[in-house]
Structures are given as structure tokens and as C-alpha cells.
């Protein structure tokens, strides 16, 4: 009996992330993009300084690249705006799925490219690549994100 209870408890623990997943994906992507923003701030802070700390740029670049690999799974159908859910995701993400996919691919491409340039150690090239990476954020956000203009 005791073993059964423990087994049932373990099963519940193990499956609970799966059960909770659909509701939590909004929180997951908000937290994920927050990390991307924080990492990109670190990059831009270094690149605007006279003596950039290259390891900060490189670690942050890898972080962004890792999130870019995950973010394809952050927008499952049904995770859009609905009553009781606070999200800046526009319905167009799902109604214009091909265009959204293209914007997502743009981010992935630029994140990979920037991680490569960051590894090279060439600060001038990093500044150019950082602009392109930032551009891929902005392109997607202007079409698919409810803007808080500040």
C-alpha cells in the first residue's frame, strides 16, 4: 500500500509538468524573452563601452542562441490572448502563421550569426551583428507583439 502511494505520488510529480504545460507556456515564454532581453542588454552595454568585456558578450550571445533554439515551441495554438491571461502575443501569430514563422526564423538566424561573430572577438563586426540581431527582435515585435511604447 505504501509503495503504491509513493508510486502514485511520484507519477503525479512526474506528470504534473505535462499537465501544467499548456497554461504555463505563457509564463515560460515571458520569462524566456525576459532573459533574452537581459542578455541583449549585457551585450549592448559592453559594445557601447570603450573597453568591452568580450566574455560577457560571448556568454550572453550563447544564452540568446540557446533561447532562440527553444522559442519555436513557445507559441503553441491556444496560447494567445484570452480572458484571464496577460500576454502581449497578438492573434496574428496564429492567423498569419507563415509570416510569424519567417520572423521567428529571422531571430534564430541572427542569434546563430551573432554567437559566431562574438566568438571571433572582432568588436566592430559584433556591433554590426548586434544591430542585425536587434532588428530581428524589432521586426517580429512590431507585427506580432502588443507594443508598450516606452
Amino acid at each position: 500500500m505504501r509503495t503504491l502511494l509513493i508510486a502514485a505520488g511520484l507519477a503525479a510529480l512526474l506528470t504534473s509538468p505535462l499537465i501544467a504545460a499548456p497554461g504555463d507556456i505563457v509564463a515560460t515564454r515571458i520569462a524566456g524573452f525576459r532573459e533574452v532581453g537581459a542578455a541583449f542588454k549585457n551585450i549592448n552595454d559592453e559594445l557601447k563601452s570603450g573597453r568591452p568585456q568580450l566574455y560577457v558578450v560571448q556568454i550572453s550571445a550563447r544564452q540568446i542562441r540557446d533561447y532562440a533554439r527553444q522559442h519555436m515551441g513557445w507559441f503553441p495554438a491556444g496560447s494567445g490572448p484570452r480572458p484571464g491571461v496577460k500576454t502581449a502575443a497578438k492573434p496574428e501569430i496564429w492567423t498569419q502563421a507563415p509570416a510569424f514563422k519567417k520572423a521567428q526564423d529571422g531571430f534564430t538566424t541572427q542569434a546563430n550569426a551573432f554567437a559566431g561573430v562574438a566568438g571571433s572577438g572582432d568588436v566592430a563586426k559584433m556591433r554590426v551583428a548586434a544591430k542585425a540581431l536587434g532588428g530581428s527582435c524589432a521586426t517580429c515585435h512590431r507585427s506580432f507583439r502588443v507594443e508598450d511604447k516606452r
Binding site: 532581453g37 537581459a38 541583449f40 570603450g50 527582435c137
Partner: protein, 218 residues
């Protein structure tokens, strides 16, 4: 026909400050809404220069520009509000003086929050944002937005008050802010600031605005 005597009201620096601020607030708003954040930062730097200049000018400027001249206590405000036929003071009235303080305070909050603000992507940011982390920068950005709403409210109140004086009290307040003087039967003398005060105020405010925005100054 003899010319009507003119009462000196606002010196040229005060007038230039006022109209430059009008243009820059409009430009700052437009540039932020349209993603011209390089221009928005430059505009913010210019506003910072203007605010710093006005604060210094409030100490060393002409009489009507000085805080000590136009900031009055509650009694003076009560008297001014109670008697609508009271002689209009030269420069800010006892209540209007405090609206200047409110406007400057909100502008200082707006400029300071902008210095540290970070956008949601960590791309665009104020010149001192490297001194704070991402979340603090986002907070500064939120404050920047809330304070701007307050600034808009104060500007609306200011324009309404000017219209009230024009329509109800039959006093044109815009004219003196353009020409510097108003028609008056018996002008009184107002002590005007000299060139040395102007040079000092310009140098100090320029230095501050340059230093805070200089690359890696801090």
C-alpha cells in the same frame, strides 16, 4: 500718437527656454512613437540641458525668472485667488509660480527616468542604463511612461489656464512669452540678469548635459 508704455516681463533666455521646450517635448514624443530612438536620446539630452539651465537661471536670472521672486506662500495664493481685481503681478502669479515648480519637477523625473530606461528587447536604452540591471531599467522605462502621462496632464492644465486668462480675464499671456513685454500704463522696473550670469548658466548646464551623455563617462 504716443507709444503705449511697455512692461518688461520675460528675458530672452526664459522665452527661448520655453519655446525650445515646447518643440523638444513634441519632438521627443514623436521620435519615441516612431522608433527614432537616436533622435529621442539627442532630444532628451537637449531637454536635460534646458532644465539644468532653467534651474540655474531660477537663481541667477532676471527677477521674473527667479524662484525667490515668484514662489509665494499659501496666504499670497489665497489673496490672489480671492480678489479677481487684484493688480496682476509682473511675471508668474502666486499660483502659477508653483505650476512652474510642478512642471520642472515632472520634467526632472522624466529626464532622470529616461537616463536609465531600457526597452523590452534590451536594445534601446538611456545613456546611464549600463549602471542598472535589466529589471531596474525596465522599471525606469515604466516610470518614464507614467511620468509622461503626468507631463501631458500638466501641459493640458497649463494651456487651459492660458486660455482661461485670455477668454475670461481678458489677458494675453502668450504675447509676453513671445515678445518679452506687455502693454502697461505704469511699468515697474524689473532687475535684469547680466551677460556674466548667462555665461555661467550656459557653461554649467552644457557641461552637465555633455557629461551625462558622454560615452562611458560614468
Amino acid at each position: 500718437m504716443a507709444r503705449t508704455p511697455r512692461q518688461f516681463v520675460w528675458d530672452l533666455p526664459v522665452r527661448l527656454f520655453h519655446w525650445a521646450l515646447v518643440l523638444l517635448i513634441g519632438f521627443s514624443w514623436w521620435s519615441a512613437e516612431n522608433y527614432h530612438m537616436d533622435w529621442h536620446r539627442l532630444s532628451g539630452q537637449a531637454v536635460l540641458f534646458l532644465i539644468a539651465f532653467r534651474l540655474i537661471w531660477g537663481v541667477v536670472g532676471s527677477d521674473t525668472a527667479r524662484f525667490a521672486h515668484f514662489l509665494k506662500g499659501p496666504r499670497a495664493i489665497r489673496v490672489y485667488l480671492a480678489d479677481r481685481n487684484a493688480p496682476a503681478p509682473v511675471g508668474h502669479n502666486p499660483l502659477g509660480g508653483w505650476s512652474v515648480v510642478a512642471m520642472l519637477a515632472v520634467l526632472v523625473m522624466q529626464v532622470v527616468s529616461g537616463l536609465f530606461a531600457v526597452d523590452t528587447d534590451g536594445i534601446e536604452s538611456g545613456p546611464l542604463s549600463h549602471l542598472v540591471d535589466f529589471d531596474q531599467g525596465r522599471l525606469a522605462s515604466a516610470i518614464h511612461g507614467v511620468v509622461f502621462a503626468g507631463l501631458q496632464a500638466l501641459i493640458a492644465l497649463h494651456v487651459l489656464a492660458v486660455l482661461f486668462y485670455l477668454a475670461v480675464r481678458r489677458r494675453n499671456l502668450v504675447g509676453p512669452m513671445v515678445t518679452g513685454s506687455a502693454a502697461a500704463p505704469a511699468p515697474i522696473s524689473v532687475r535684469r540678469a547680466g551677460p556674466l550670469a548667462l555665461v555661467v548658466a550656459l557653461l554649467l548646464s552644457t557641461a552637465l548635459a555633455w557629461w551625462l551623455f558622454a560615452q562611458s563617462a560614468l
